[in-house]
Assembly symmetry: C2
Homo-oligomer: 260 residues x 2
């Protein structure tokens, strides 16, 4: 099971484990290991650490749309008290990654045809602009990093590794946009990713079940080529196509009206 949701018995086991490390700063064991102790992993507050862990988990599709998320459940998994979780979930809810239901319970939002359309439109506007700005600012080092991320991305496809397939796709775009020097817009873009990631994971899983995850053509390579040639109009079209292709697959899978 990849869902960020543990059975009751398993949750109890983790609680026992967590109790022993209760005094430690924070011990986060969410089932995957990206414990590269970079400077970015230095968190001043627990809530920041919890937020980053949960954000990562969401972008990897570990949260199933419609599932409910509880403060104590997350707190037990992460071995911390309620407070850091409370503040993280409040933030994630404000960003649209989670949802407060009428019964004041917290849940992973479900997708609708209308919401998908809105997210698609906004992503197209913001991401094509961010890409264009990044193109004129990126250096050789950045292009090499993008190439490496894309290699790992293709590796994930070859291994039918859905989780990393989704995550590394985001990672490619995030790295690209990081060169845009657009602080406000990149935050908004990542907020949109948080909204669609659980849905994307669901679609990809269904796709993987009934066939194979495959990329018709390596869009990322074409993007890198356009950047290398400094062809901004082509780059914008490629970004728009990249987003549109993904949305079309999702719409077809759900039987929703297909864009354009």
């Amino acid at each position: 099971m990849h869902w960020f949701d543990l059975s009751h018995t398993l949750r109890y086991k983790i609680r026992q484990l967590a109790k022993s490390k209760r005094e430690a700063y924070i011990n986060l064991h969410l089932g995957y290991e990206n414990k590269n102790n970079k400077a970015s992993n230095m968190h001043k507050t627990q809530q920041e650490a919890v937020y980053n862990e949960l954000k990562d988990a969401i972008l990897r599709g570990k949260f199933e749309p419609g599932n409910s998320v509880t403060l104590r459940g997350i707190a037990e998994m992460l071995g911390c008290s309620l407070m850091p979780v409370r503040e993280s979930l409040r933030r994630l809810t404000a960003e649209g990654a989670l949802e407060l239901l009428a019964n004041r319970r917290i849940a992973v939002p479900t997708m609708s045809a209308e919401k998908l359309q809105e997210i698609y439109y906004t992503r197209t506007c913001l991401e094509s602009y961010a890409a264009e700005r990044a193109m004129s600012r990126i250096d050789e080092q950045g292009l090499r990093e993008l190439t490496e991320i894309n290699r790992l991305h293709n590796e994930a496809i070859a291994n039918q590794d859905v989780e990393n397939y989704i995550y590394l796709n985001f990672e490619f775009h995030r790295k690209l946009y990081s060169y845009s020097d657009l602080n406000v817009i990149t935050v908004m873009i990542e907020g949109l990713w948080l909204r669609i990631a659980p849905f994307m994971r669901m679609i990809s899983d269904r796709f993987a079940e009934q066939g194979e995850i495959t990329e018709s053509d390596d869009k990322h390579i074409e993007i890198l080529e356009a950047i290398h040639k400094q062809n901004s109009t082509r780059l914008k079209h490629l970004i728009q196509d990249d987003i549109l292709d993904g949305v079309r697959i999702q719409q077809e899978m759900m039987g929703w009206p297909v864009s354009d």
Copy 2:
């Protein structure tokens, strides 16, 4: 003083007042009276009430860019404990309305030429789309409501009432976009407003000091006309111009490079 910031002695007075009503649900006295007891004012939780009050105050420009905001300060003003304030400020921070400084203090963000550009671009994309969608869905009742808001807006200009001048401008656009049926995008738009409102208020105040607040031509009337004629291309241009005009004034006032 219109700033959402009280002197120490005044804050003490309020604390005394608040103590007497400590047991009451919540008593919010932020200096202005919009106590229309509509259903929208029925809040299930205190943090929701606090959030709505603070959001309103921000959109009215009661927060000065650069000023720091403290949990206990707000809690005393609103006569509630720290918890509802903590959660509200966390949410507002996530939405970009407030900022966590490196010294883990909370402050009203200051504007920069770059941030203004980003916000301007995003507003143009999202608001013109929302307006276009609203045009095909609005009814006679909606047009009447917009006309009334615009009348109050012009009244505020005539009275040199900067606070309501800013707020009613937002109110006009919010009412218009409410007919777009775009849930995700309208939330993002209001998030952008929260980011610029304190800055807009600062600019408008300077404008009011050295001259008069005046509208060169009533853009809102033209917008209503375009909607009445169902001319979507003209409507989109009018929205874009409306946003651009405001940004240009701000850029000129700050001596920043002017858009387009």
